[in-house]
């Protein structure tokens, strides 16, 4: 059994890293918002989904205009990423302004309920627009970066099988890495980043120190949503077909990643995302083998949720988080 698991390990790792990179960036959005408002922004998964749709729509339009054929593919991708992230960033800010800000003093669960409402609303809006435009809400984008690259992992260790990946995997991974490093730099080294960390620590005190709290919260939503939207584009390119309901489960798993890494902790979220992606791929490839066919790959979601529940039950502060005492 071990040999068989080892055979597929390189491929599992590659697929897991691609998925994990996506989880990691979406998890960043959850963790930033939670760090600053202590709110699970349920709508974040939907922002990701909206990003995927906006990106695909732009790509389809560009293809229709014949620009894709003459433009270098990388430039087209960059253009799409920038436009999408700006648009989803503003959507995120708008959601915060309309649905969350009036409730900042309300009990947390009321805000959580609004977040679920926003999430449903976005799902249906996207479904509706796509269905009106295309007649079907399942959308397949133009195929880009589909050439397969072979990796001769068998020459490294004889137990490994050869693995292969699409070119888009490199794109996903590199773009994700750039985004994460930039965000990390932004938060740790710039003035706005310092303001964000200050607000996350103590909103009232940082307001007294001259930080414009509302602006900072808006910025957090902008950044998180922009990253989420861009990730949506990456997802659409990597996996091809998208529908308006991809965001919820993926968002939930990204939230799992954020909790796994310690919620509110930026680097933890990145680590948690990668870890969860690899674990999930590992489970979907090997669950059948490990349980003698009792559980198959269809239980991979159960596996991810089980991780979430176990982490929340036994280590709610996550891998890198701090334990917080609660008082009346």
């Amino acid at each position: 059994m071990l040999a068989e698991i080892l055979h597929t390990l390189p491929q599992v790792l590659i697929d897991g890293l691609a998925l994990g990179a996506i989880y990691a960036i979406v998890a960043l959005g959850y963790t930033m918002v939670y760090g600053i408002l202590e709110l699970i922004n349920f709508a974040h998964g939907e922002i990701f989904m909206t990003g995927a749709f906006i990106g695909t729509a732009i790509l389809i339009t560009l293809t229709g205009l014949g620009w894709i054929a003459v433009m270098p593919a990388l430039l087209a991708l960059l253009l799409v990423l920038v436009i999408t992230s700006v648009l989803t960033g503003f959507i995120g800010m708008g959601i915060e302004r309309i649905a969350y800000r009036p409730l900042r003093k309300a009990p947390k669960l009321i805000t959580l309920i609004t977040a679920i409402g926003v999430s449903f609303l976005l799902q249906d809006l996207v479904r509706f627009i796509t269905e009106v435009k295309r007649g079907n809400y399942i959308l397949t984008g133009p195929s880009m970066f589909t050439d397969r690259v072979e990796v001769k992992t068998s020459s490294v260790l004889s137990v490994f099988n050869d693995a292969s990946f699409k070119e888009s995997f490199i794109i996903v991974f590199v773009v994700a890495a750039i985004m994460m490093i930039t965000l990390d730099f932004f938060i740790n080294k710039t003035k706005w980043g310092t303001a964000m960390r200050a607000v996350a620590q103590d909103r009232d005190t940082s307001a007294l120190m001259g930080v414009n709290v509302n602006k900072v919260i808006g910025l957090v939503f902008f950044l998180g949503s922009a990253l989420g939207g861009a990730t949506g584009v990456l997802f659409a390119i990597q996996y091809g077909t998208i529908d308006p309901y991809i965001g919820f489960i993926l968002g939930l798993k990204a939230f799992t990643a954020a909790v796994l890494g310690g919620i509110g902790n930026i680097r933890g979220a990145m680590f948690g995302g990668i870890l969860l992606g690899v674990l999930e791929m590992f489970a979907s490839a090997n669950l059948t083998l490990m349980t003698n066919g009792v559980f198959g790959a269809e239980y991979k979601d159960v596996f991810a949720f089980a991780i979430l529940i176990l982490v929340l039950l036994f280590k709610p502060e996550g891998i890198f988080g701090k334990v917080v005492m609660e008082k009346v």
């Binding site: 202590e38 709110l39 699970i40 649905a99 009036p102 409730l103 309300a106 009990p107 947390k108 669960l109 009321i110 805000t111 959580l112 309920i113 609004t114 679920i116 409402g117 926003v118 999430s119 449903f120 609303l121 976005l122 799902q123 249906d124 809006l125 479904r127 509706f128 269905e131 009106v132 809400y137 919820f248 489960i249 939930l252 939230f255 066919g293 009792v294 198959g296 269809e298 239980y299 979601d301 159960v302 949720f305 089980a306 979430l308 529940i309 929340l312 039950l313 036994f314 709610p316 609660e326 008082k327 009346v328």
Partner: protein, 444 residues
């Protein structure tokens, strides 16, 4: 103009405190709507107006027993009788049955969310557990993993299974509730959501290694209930089953609300650490909330399975859980009449109004009056409508349509009336006052 307004006002003021006038007006209203439904045969508006009489009844100043009597008259006799004239009889009764089922479920969730303040986003899982408990044994399915007994069981067993379904769901509630000991607030919401999804996925895949739930194919031709040789197959018959269980549910919920455990739930909702320091056993209190809420849902799951004669995992998605949450929030968290109203509105909206609107719009498009794209058909806009209701109510009316009320006790009367005779008097003195906080405080 002003004169007329003043005149109107003086009339409404007179009616406000006059039980007789209210009774006569309500009676006329019920009579008119019943007659119009009876004569028109198929009229959704008349049907809805007749149901609305129960809402009016709620706001009248009539005595409690009179109210129950009128409600019983409307629901047991007038509604089925007047609807039975048209060919849409079964579809009206279907809506009536579903309203009963969803109201009971929403009341169950109301205990968990509204009273105990534990946001449960996977509530439909208990409904699924109840539905599957009956359907596995009421189809040949059980023979796959049980070596004794003959399956499917006869329809007489349905009545036992209502209790078994509730019991099994309660056990699941306790199993799910054990994490409650460790997480709270929004983490709890996520955990329950995860559990709900896990249960659905497991039901979806439990056709291997042993075929228990028949996977995504679902279980079909479930035995209909039987009583004294009478087989229940039509919605008009299930209507009465749902009604009986619903009345029991309302009775239990009302009794629980002001009981010791009910007050403990509210204390936990307001602040669980403070409640604990006042001597409330947190674990036990929360687990009871989960178990009782789940058992209502499980019982109705059994009824649902028997009525549909078919269950499959797609009936138990997250959307259903959220729908029940919308019912509770719309009506007013923690308020029993509110939740009943919310659940009724949502079910009727879902089952009747949206489909009727869709049909009407289709009709208009066919006649080239207007053209509505298929994507916009109201029946497809469920998520949009639910989302909008959640946001609007959370933002502008978090206490719901009929806000929860807390009884105010007259301290002076309580001190004086220690004799049995005095106690009877106090009961009347218990007046209901609106909760002063605009938010039902769920979480500290």
């Amino acid at each position: 103009m002003k004169k007329y307004i003043d005149l109107m006002k003086s009339y409404t003021d007179k009616v406000k405190d006059n039980k007789l006038a209210q009774g006569i007006l309500l009676g006329t209203y019920i009579l008119v709507t019943t007659l119009s439904l009876y004569l028109s045969g198929k009229s959704v508006i008349a049907f809805l107006l007749l149901l609305a009489s129960l809402l009016l009844l709620h706001f009248t100043k009539l005595g409690r027993n009179t109210k129950w009597g009128i409600a019983a008259l409307v629901l047991v006799v007038l509604l089925p009788l007047s609807a039975s004239q048209g060919d849409a009889y079964q579809s009206y009764m279907e809506v009536g049955t579903l309203v009963g089922i969803y109201v009971a479920m929403a009341l169950g969730l109301n205990i968990v969310v509204g009273l105990a303040g534990l946001l449960d986003l996977g509530f439909v899982a208990f409904f699924a557990v109840g539905a599957y408990t009956y359907s596995i044994f009421a189809t040949p399915q059980a023979a796959n993993f049980l070596s004794f007994g003959t399956f499917p069981l006869g329809g007489e067993y349905f009545w036992v299974f209502i209790l078994i379904g509730g019991f099994v769901a309660a056990i699941f509630g306790i199993l799910l509730g054990i994490p409650v000991l460790r997480v709270k607030g929004d983490y709890l919401a996520i955990v329950t959501l995860g559990f709900g999804e896990i249960i659905r996925i497991v039901f979806n895949n439990l056709d291997r290694p042993i075929n228990i739930t028949n996977g995504a194919m679902g279980l079909s031709s479930i035995t209909p209930p039987k009583l004294f040789g009478l087989t229940f197959t039509f919605p008009s018959q299930f209507y009465y089953i749902a009604l009986v269980i619903l009345v029991l549910t309302i009775f239990v919920v009302r009794r629980l609300e002001y009981s010791k455990i009910g007050r403990a739930w509210k204390a936990v909702r307001e602040n669980d650490i403070a409640a604990q320091s006042m001597g409330i056993h947190l674990v036990r209190t929360k687990l009871t909330a989960f178990a009782i809420g789940a058992s209502f849902s499980g019982m109705m799951g059994v009824v649902f399975a028997a009525k549909q004669t078919f269950v499959d995992p797609t009936s138990f998605t997250l959307l259903e859980s959220i729908t029940i949450l919308v019912m509770v929030l719309l009506g007013g968290m923690g308020s029993v009449p509110g939740v009943i109203l919310g659940a009724a509105i949502m079910t009727i909206l879902n089952m009747q109004v949206l489909t009727e609107l869709t049909n009407w719009l289709n009709q208009l498009s066919l006649n080239n009056v207007i053209s509505i794209p298929d994507a916009l058909s109201p029946a497809k806009m469920q998520r949009f409508i639910f989302g909008a209701i959640l946001i609007l109510f959370a933002l502008y009316r978090p206490q719901g349509l009929i806000p929860a009320k807390n009884p105010i006790f007259n301290a002076a009367k309580l001190k004086n009336g220690s004799t049995p005779k005095g106690q009877e008097k106090q009961k009347q003195e218990v007046s209901l006052k609106k909760e002063s906080a605009s938010y039902v405080n769920l979480d500290s």
